[in-house]
Amino acid sequence: MNHPKTGRVADLVARAQQDILDDWIRQQLGQTGRGAGRISEAALRQQSTRFLEAFARAINGGLIYDAKAPRWDDLREVLKELSLSRAAQNFSTSETATFIFSLKQPLFERLRKEAGGADVDADIWSISTLLDTLGLYTSEAYQKAREEVINRQQEEMLELSTPVVQLWDGIVALPLIGTLDSARTQVVMESLLNEVMARRAKFAIIDITGVPTVDTLVAQHLLKTVAAARLMGVECLISGIRPQFAQTIVHLGIDLTQVVTKASLADAFSLALKKLQMAVVRLEGRPGRS
């Protein structure tokens, strides 16, 4: 590493930090990107200041291109936070990386001005490579943050989408919404059986009105759930069979004769009531309202 030259950059950044910061922020605000309106000037200024301070500290000991070196720990921390907050605010990858790249122009201009005609190509080259590395690091961190968001949402969806509701004393219903895959069926099965156990239900109605597609795998998962419930002494009824579903079932040759299937949840519910020897009746001696 060529220390005198890098020393010049470090000096400059340390000395003219405020001026560079002002130029840089003006530059970023001037960019009419998708993310322009999503971050306030104050927040941008705060992020930029923190980055520049950490940057100044980091390059003070000479340039190292390896952004994983321990000396860059501080700076990496700042970048990670930045990526996290930008991922949460729906910035795109390039918008996040541009935050770093946009520092080049104000920095190079000032460097050229200060040098007063001396050759600064080598400085520009090294600082440019460094900023590129940092930019790449930022986009990687950004992607990681986005993936975490996606994973978390997936888990939440898994939990949220399997509610077990009590319809009556001894009757519970499980309205399924969304595609059924193996992982989800496992969750569905477990939560249904646990709820049945907890509420001492005799009947469980699985309503599949909200399941968009059915194939042999989905049907098999359903049959497994029904079989497991039966082993616990609970009768399962499947409701919400759509015409399309009925056609698919027959075409695929799936045998659903072991299970009671009903077209609507209401039908399944009234069957369950009937088997519990209960009935819904109209009250007599009261004037009808319609």
Binding site: M197, R200, M232
Partner: protein, 129 residues
């Protein structure tokens, strides 16, 4: 053969409550004891409570099925009650759906079911079939 699952008699029913983890020898002993007791007591119904059973394997699953079939031959109805969700899932995943076994959620509804079966209130139109 020190371990043994007690078999209690209640009228014309036999009550088996599995309170320990089943192992193979225990299951075989139970099978022997139960068939003998059914004959000796001229029992019409057998209720097996497995609510504390937390682990099963295919052998125990098959054992339960066998006991039910044997009781049937001896003219006694078997009802398995209180199966834990995890156990039910395991059995289904093992491909043992035990179609010959009647099940109920707890001892109370199990006894009701046995009563219905013994009294012969059209057993063919039963819920659990």
């Amino acid at each position: 053969m020190a371990d043994r699952i007690p078999i209690l008699r209640m009228g014309d029913c036999l009550l088996v409550s599995v309170q320990v983890e089943m192992h193979d020898q225990l299951a075989l002993t139970l099978q022997n004891d139960l068939t003998e007791k059914i004959v000796a007591a001229r029992a019409k119904g057998v209720l097996i409570d497995i609510s504390v059973l937390e682990m099963v394997d295919s052998f125990i699953g098959r054992m339960l099925g066998n006991i039910a079939s044997m009781s049937k031959v001896l003219d006694a109805e078997t009802v398995v009650v209180g199966m834990q969700p995890a156990v039910a899932i395991t059995l289904v995943e093992l491909g043992m759906e035990l179609p010959g076994i009647r099940t109920a959620l707890d001892v109370e509804s199990g006894m009701e079911l046995i009563r219905e079966l013994i009294d012969g209130q059209d057993p063919d139109a039963d819920d659990q079939d």
